[in-house]
Symmetry: none
Subunit: 228 residues, 4 copies
DNA sequence: GATGAATGAGCGTTCATTCAT
DNA sequence: CATGAATGAACGCTCATTCAT
């Protein structure tokens, strides 16, 4: 049955946006972006849909955003939405992946030449807050707990929060290898704790209009103390 | 808005369970439980509904649980649901409050005679994990992000996560006053960070089947280090 | 998954209309039809829906009839439709079953005191055409090939055409036992052939406005000759 | 209505395959097939579409087959479908016509030198079953009731079942003229009855895995008896 | 002639909530 | 106080058809 469904589903769907390597990484393989023809139209539609989806998911949240809202906001027909996404959840996850990729780029840029743990943590937080300032609400929306969204099926999808948690974990492990993090720290667990802390702390800070720089410093101080 | 809603409801709405004094205060005022009469029936219905709601919210999540499911699971008529709750969200928040109160009691018991910050953090975490073990899934469900639930309107209702964050903040402030927490720590922010860390870390631990005791110790160590 | 769905489906659905035994059978067990209360409302809604469904399935056919058309025609809300039927196909099958039961009653009445094969075939056809006259289009609609309707799932449902074919087969077997049908006739196959012939022949007769009585006689003559 | 539709179509629409003279006449006029050039491409596309349509209509049925599925299966662009067919129903009818023509050829071959009614009926049935064996499911699909397909509009198009019924009728009339069929038989009606019987009986036989030869003989015996 | 992305009316269905009993 | 049948706006999604390239 699922096969049949898959068979009858429109082709499209190159999956969730190809990760862009540019930014910190100078030499990016140029994916052949067609300048004309149907493929160009297709890409344009997808871009319009992604932008509209981001806008609406951020503004209204997942459940208050309907596929037809996204289509209208994008200026394409309702059916076009389903030409590019399997369903609403697929669209949301694509949005989350996109945000994750963008943030990765920013953080990579911030980490380019840091040496100490203090700097690294500070720069990571700065990267996150910079992204949040430029893209208000995007991280909060992208971090939405997927288990609340799905109706029991696709719990196996990797959610951005996990991806970032593991990223922090790997980073901390490197730092630990260099002696910057105490040897008794479970770096993977710490990665998860930090992401959780950032999510909740960020929400608190933005809700209560806290000063960004002092929040960053306060958080960095706590994290660094915990890890050293 | 909430006023308007309250006005719409005729029935005597016990509303959201009487709050224990917040935070870590263990003793909740005992409401007088009638032994007979219609009031008893009413309370029984409510109890059955609350139990059913908890079961279903935990098993299926908020969106996959319909008021009708709760009523059926409770063995009462569908209309009875709206005799006890303004709407579905009200019911969910009542569930969250109930869980919060139960957890408060447990934590209070754990804190009865601790003296040091180390012990306090450790015992708090032990309390949380004990509750999680006895009530699997309840905390995760109760901590569900409210913004994901509402359809854009009622973001003003207090969510358990904030309540606990503030509780931790107050507790840390007390500890700071006694000199157990470094004076440069923003205790409110730290409270939020810790709750966020616990949420994400707890999910990680339960998902990956980590040993409870060592997780608690690892988390406690990190928190204490950060705060001292 | 199907379990889950079943669990979340509304109760209702006593299945396809209880066969009415009255008509030829004098002593019918009186099912307790409630005269008041919600059960009565429920029954009334179902009856209104069944009548509307019959009207529309006959007038427009299966695919051109939408559940909401049936609801509107019945004068009930759209949701009420799904309180009484799992889905559109379920409603159509209930309609088919109802028609089958009604026809059974009529045919049974026609067969009450026939002795010869000639009379039996003639009376059966008279019963069928009488029903068709009183309920124009109903048989044609009810005989709609189910395989054309379903989307590949529930092919195991017994379709009216099969039910009638088997009925004819049994009847012919009885007649064969009494020596009224040639011993070399495969009565089951003959049952199917006759139903197929009636369906196609009936359509032809009604389309070309043939005289009913002479058509019946012509068909009866052919059937009897084939069987003797 | 068909005129209007035809006007809408610019392309030179070969339309429904040139009909062989109807009924049992075997020889169809040979359309000149171009060996090269754009006309050849056109014919190739059409052939690919027809083959794909047959495969899918047989496998999935009319409603579960989308024009896009046919195009993809045929390996041509989706738009090409509408270069060759007015709409989906037009394509289905073309498929039915094609099957009818093929069957006509086979039956004509079977009838080449029969003399008696018994032989004729037997050979016709043999032709039908031979075709069914070589093209499983095609007849069942082609015989799909048109009224179930259309959404209320185009009931005026000729359906294969009628075409075959009339063919049988003409054949029986010839036989009647030669004295092989009883003079009191309404040959047109009998033609319809036989096609109906074959359809229903064939379905029964294939569903229950009946032996082909004995089924043919049983059916032939009944038909011949009825007609003599 | 061929393409395939785009279209949007319309589909079948759900579910939070109401209200007559 | 409790009931549960009824409601209908709104949902996510489909697909026969069009048209710019």
């Amino acid at each position: 049955m699922m096969m049949e469904k898959a068979e009858r589903t429109e082709a499209g769907q190159t999956g969730h946006v190809a990760r862009s390597d540019d930014g910190a990484n100078p030499i990016a393989p140029q994916p052949d972006i067609p300048e004309t023809g149907p493929a160009k139209r297709r890409l344009e539609s997808r871009r319009k849909l992604m932008e509209a989806a981001r806008r609406l998911f951020v503004e209204r949240g997942y459940h208050a955003t309907r596929p037809q809202d996204i289509s209208r906001e994008a200026g394409v027909g309702h059916g076009t939405f389903y030409l590019h996404f399997d369903d609403k959840l697929d669209c949301f996850l694509a949005f989350g992946d996109e945000a994750a990729s963008e943030l990765d780029v920013i953080i990579a840029a911030h980490l380019v030449s840091v040496q100490t743990l203090d700097d690294a943590v500070l720069e990571m937080l700065r990267g996150i807050f910079e992204y949040s300032r430029k893209n208000p609400g995007v991280l909060a929306a992208a971090l939405t707990d997927i288990s609340v969204l799905s109706t029991g099926e696709e719990v196996d999808r990797v959610v951005p929060a996990d991806r970032w948690s593991l990223g922090w974990g790997r980073f901390l492990a490197e730092m630990q290898a260099k002696g910057h993090v105490a040897p008794d720290v479970d770096t993977t667990l710490a990665g998860y704790l930090i992401v959780g802390a950032i999510r909740q702390g960020g929400a608190y800070a933005s809700l209560n209009g806290l000063d960004r720089d002092s929040t960053i410093e306060a958080m960095a101080k706590l994290f660094v103390r915990a890890l050293k």
